[in-house]
């Protein structure tokens, strides 16, 4: 009996893994966990784009529904390859401001830079079991989804008059160039803003949202308002969204997707306590940021509701604005602080949205400049006030108000100028905006030759006047067409000349 037990035990011990083998298994499990984690953040982040499409589609008038939705769909078609061929390389190689010298490949640049070239091993299927091997693909995909998001932020502001192709060109520049350049500078552990000034924007208040808002503002200045948006005195009218329910559902989908966005902004390192790092490789936890985003929504809804006096669109947009306002410090904020700060962000979005529309007379169809742009910059400013001293980056430079300010002063022109210049060039080439006749008729007929509600009777389009009165839109739109085009609708332009 004793001898048989001993033989069983010795047989088991012979099969037992060594500590080295156990460590190898643990490391492999950790890598698989990492890959699965980022894969599912990508899946969840798709909801952001479902949401953007529903949000903007609902906010458009019936005659522009499909042309609005196609922008969101085709964002994926153009930003994906451009980010693969150029954008990821910018992130890998532009951390110090300009490009690394020479041919970018793993041999010449054995670090991250070389692995971001589209012909490197890390950018296609491979079985290298390391962070920079096959796992770099899920990192790339997470960043790609950030890129779609950045481009889509601009999308809604331009609806109902921008050419689809013009938007796609602008989306490539913003999604695969501008934002990823600022991410290389200030949203990576080795970025020059991080290593020199302790710039801290952990969940991308400014590097995604603020920059997209600034770029969008530059585009809007050249694009101009929709026909009929402002009366002769410059007072704003309001177009009625054709489906507010769809818009609100879209916003809720964006909110859901934002949890994936938040999670994807962390590094998971399951074999080292506490298991999570922020984008600057400082320790944090998934629970920390999840609490902040949730309280950010709560505070943002509250602030939006108060400032807009209960307007449903601005109440929900306030939620998004609230989260964006606390994202930069989401890795360090207390939930109560996040709640308070996000409430101010929700209010700021409503007030700045009104200012942009009524004072600046910029027609931002969904309030993107206010919600993403203003609150994105506001979020970075708040970190300088409420998280000053927190060590950031690989050399632990303390976060400071001055460092945050330097980041803001760097990123605003980096975003605004390309948006303004490229849209100006498109405008000069007459490729930015649809012809006014097409805008009045609706873009869907020109782009797709069909109505997308064929079984529903059309009713006269309405418009809300500055005094709140809702009236039929057609006479006003035709009058505005005449005023802005110098001749009556239907009369050729040359006949209107004296």
């Amino acid at each position: 009996m004793t001898s048989s037990l001993a033989s069983v035990l010795s047989a088991l011990l012979a099969q037992a893994p060594t500590p080295e083998e156990l460590q190898e298994q643990i490391n492999l499990d950790s890598l698989v966990l990492l890959e699965v984690f980022y894969f599912f953040t990508v899946v969840v982040m798709w909801l952001i784009h479902v949401g953007f499409m529903a949000y903007e589609g609902g906010a458009s008038r019936r005659k522009n529904l499909m042309s609005t939705a196609m922008k969101n769909i085709l964002t994926i078609a153009v930003v994906t390859p451009s980010f693969y061929y150029f954008g990821w390389y910018i992130y890998g190689c532009f951390e110090h401001g300009g490009p690394a010298e020479g041919h970018a490949g793993p041999a010449e640049f054995p670090g991250f830079c070389g692995l971001t070239a589209p012909w490197s091993a890390g950018m296609a299927g491979n079985l290298e079991s390391s962070l920079t091997g096959h796992l770099s693909l899920v990192f790339f995909l997470a960043f790609l989804l950030f890129s779609w998001t950045t481009a889509s932020i601009m999308s809604g502001a331009l609806i109902e008059r921008v050419r689809l192709s013009a938007y796609l060109i602008l989306a490539v520049v913003l999604g695969s160039g501008v934002w990823i350049m600022d991410a290389a500078w200030g949203w990576s552990a080795g970025g020059w803003l991080t290593t020199n000034y302790g710039f801290h924007d952990s969940i991308a208040s400014m590097v995604v949202h603020g920059v997209a808002g600034a770029f969008t503002l530059g585009v809007l200045l050249n694009l101009g308002p929709r026909i009929g948006k402002f009366d002769a005195a410059g007072r704003a009218r309001t177009f009625r969204p054709h489906n507010t329910h769809l818009t609100l559902m879209g916003l809720m989908l964006i909110f859901t997707g934002f949890y994936g966005f938040y999670a994807a902004c962390l590094f998971i390192q399951s074999t080292v306590f506490p298991g999570w790092l922020n984008i600057y490789l400082s320790p944090t936890t998934l629970g920390t940021i999840a609490m902040v985003i949730t309280f950010g929504f709560a505070g943002g809804f509250t602030g939006g509701w108060i400032a807009s006096k209960g307007d449903p669109f601005w109440t929900l947009s306030g939620g998004l604005a609230g989260v964006i306002s606390v994202s930069a410090g989401a890795d360090v904020y207390h939930p109560s602080l996040a709640y308070l700060l996000s409430a101010t962000g929700g209010m700021l979005a409503v007030w700045s949205g009104g200012y942009i529309e009524k004072k600046l007379r910029v027609d931002d169809a969904v309030g993107a400049v206010a919600v993403h742009g203003v609150c994105g910059f506001y979020g970075v400013l708040l970190v300088g006030i409420f998280a000053g001293g927190f060590p950031t980056g690989v050399n632990n430079v303390p976060t400071s108000f001055g460092g945050q300010l330097i980041g803001m002063l760097t990123f605003f022109p980096l975003a605004f100028l390309p948006g303004y210049i490229i849209s100006w060039l498109l405008k000069k080439a007459n490729l930015l905006r649809v012809p006014p006749e097409v805008e009045l008729e609706g873009l869907d007929m020109a782009e797709f030759q069909q109505d997308f509600f064929p079984e529903f009777e059309r009713v006269p389009e309405v418009i809300v006047l500055p005094d709140g009165q809702e009236v039929e839109a057609a006479p006003i739109l035709l009058e505005e067409y005449t005023r802005t085009n110098g001749h009556r609708a239907g009369a050729p332009a040359e006949r209107s000349s004296p």
């Binding site: 061929y85 589209p118 012909w119 020109a446 069909q450 064929p454 009713v459 006479p475 009556r488 239907g490």
Partner: protein, 93 residues
Amino acid sequence: MIDSFPYDSWEDVATTFWTFGPEDSTGTYILTVLGIILMVGAIIYWVWLENKKLTAQAELLRGAGGLPPASPTAPGPGFAEPPLAGPSTEPGP
């Protein structure tokens, strides 16, 4: 059992196998260049095609003697209702 697969003997081939060649190879460069050509070509085609559609539609609307109503009242595509704008024979402002 999955761990009984001859993984070790496959690994060398599988790790380095790429269609048209491994990293930093001529085949990979060619694929990259072709992909960029498709991407740029698609954008140019979008610009051209949309411009053609928009120009045609705008000319159609102007040539039809007046703009369609900004808010059509008839179901379905097309312009069943007379345009709100006056006919093109009317004098301009």
